[in-house]
Amino acid sequence: MTATATRTAGSATGTPATAAVRFADVSKSFGDVRAVAGLSLTLHPGETVALLGPNGAGKSTALDLLLGLRTADSGTVELFGTSPRQAITQGRVGAMLQSGGLMEEVTVRELVRLACDLHPRAYPVDQVLATADLTDIADRKVNKLSGGQEQRVRFALATAGANDLIVLDEPTTGMDVSARQSFWTTMRAQAAQGRTVLFATHYLEEADAIADRVLVLHQGRLLADGTAAQIKARAGARRIVFDLETADEALLRGLPHVASLEVSGRTVRIGSTDADATVHAVYAAGLYPRNLEVAGLGLEQAFLAITEEASAA
């Protein structure tokens, strides 16, 4: 497989003072494992950013470092130009962690009231309950909730006050489709108010639909950083499949906008950033493709293509 797309990884633009999140050459190891390896990135206020990566890519560690739950071995992590702890103390950061447990033997309302009480810029308790769609179950015990309801409580804890940055780790895990949709509707409203939203997810369609920027993390490094469309383009946004009597790999590779090429027997699979131009060039080269198909590539396939390529390298 060949990729000709340019790498945008590690681009640290913007001034540090105004950045919502800034990682500068951050590394963190656990024993021999480098969970995060020289990570640099900047998130700007108002961005909605998806963090993608296969299991073990370092997403959770990166989020822990971002929230000050862990300390980096080297490099600096800053939120709004200050330390993560400072930013949290100022009430600028709300987070919903996958590993975040809930207090037991208390009601939903009691727990949300606690979160509001601890937040320097808290919203009224009833408003937080309503936003997280918890009003109906406010008097239930926290340890008697379903997985999706628990996630909504975590969401309420993360949005108990006027945060400037909201960090969500796998927020829709355990939610059914309609719950997931209403969750993202709520989240979009938060982003529309100018908040920076950073979320890690396994559901790539969520990243595709919601994020205006996608970060792909792999083996602790930033592999790709751009809009969903750019990430797809990098992997070859469209897949062209056809049969040829005799496939000349060198010729095919030389066609315009080819991001990836795979020949098995007589079947040729091309990932292309501009399918129209590539197909046109196929005919122009005097080839006679049969059973020609052109299909769009989802972010999921793009993501797989990018990470597989990095694993192979």
Binding site: D64, A95, S99, G100, G101, E105, R113, L114, D117, L118
Partner: protein, 246 residues
């Protein structure tokens, strides 16, 4: 922070099973230990009756059990479940968490102390001046904060599996050396000397000084204060530094 303290106390009181055993255990043990004792027999070489000695010892022991065991295990579990991580994402300072845990422990230790005293007065004919009752109640209760803080610290050092064992070990050794189960005076002099600087002996000594009609000794108060600062400070520091659990 006040909401957290209130919530922790409410939670502790809602846990009926734990509450029941923590409150019932000390008076039962007191009755067993003093079952054979004549209400008026004096502890050798002193003016304090055996029953009174054990009453103070059991007030201390009961409070210590409730707070040490309860805190250590509960905190280890809350860390394991990730609640502490969630709490660390709030503006709550480290001392807030430790204070709330000590407060909820204190809410449980108070009724256990009161019950031992009520049983001693009603069934064992213990008679003292009003200030002595009040003084023993207050010192037993205040002293239990030291062990609550130790429980928080153990909850931080241990895992869910080891928290109970470590807490048990600490509490057996401390209770034994503190003379809570047998008169302190049976120990050899060197051991008595060491025990004076461990937390349980000064703790029991507060109440015993009052039994003798004295004010608690300053040295005992100082030793306890140092332990309280060390345990609570250590626990608050570990709350912030807790990175062992992913």
């Amino acid at each position: 922070m006040r909401t957290l303290i209130r919530l922790e106390i409410v939670r502790a009181l809602r846990n009926r099973k734990f509450m029941f055993f923590s409150v019932i255990y000390p008076p039962v043990l007191f009755l067993l230990l003093t079952a054979g004792a004549d209400s008026h027999s004096k502890l050798s070489g002193t003016d304090v009756s055996v029953v009174m000695y054990y009453m103070v010892a059991m007030c201390a022991f009961g409070a210590m059990t409730a707070v040490l065991m309860g805190n250590a295990e509960m905190i280890a579990r809350e860390r394991d479940k990730g609640w502490v991580r969630q709490l660390r994402l709030t503006a709550l300072p480290g001392r807030g968490y430790v204070t709330a845990k000590i407060a909820s422990a204190a809410a449980i230790s108070l009724p256990s102390i009161v019950l031992v005293m009520v049983v001693a007065a009603a069934l064992k004919e213990v008679r003292m001046d009003a200030w002595q009752w009040g003084g023993i109640l207050l010192s037993s209760w205040a002293g239990s904060f030291v062990f609550a803080a130790l429980g928080v610290a153990i909850g931080y050092l241990a895992t869910v599996d080891t928290a109970r064992l470590i807490a048990m070990f600490c509490y057996f050794v401390l209770a034994m050396l503190g003379g809570l189960w047998m008169p302190f005076t049976v120990f050899p002099a060197w051991l008595q000397h060491i025990a004076e600087y461990l937390p349980a002996r000064p703790y029991a000594a507060l109440g015993q000084a009052i039994e003798f009609g004295d004010a608690p000794h300053l040295k005992d108060i100082a030793v306890l204060a140092v332990y309280l600062v060390v345990f609570a400070g250590g626990a608050a520091w570990m709350y912030r530094k807790d990175t062992a659990k992913a």
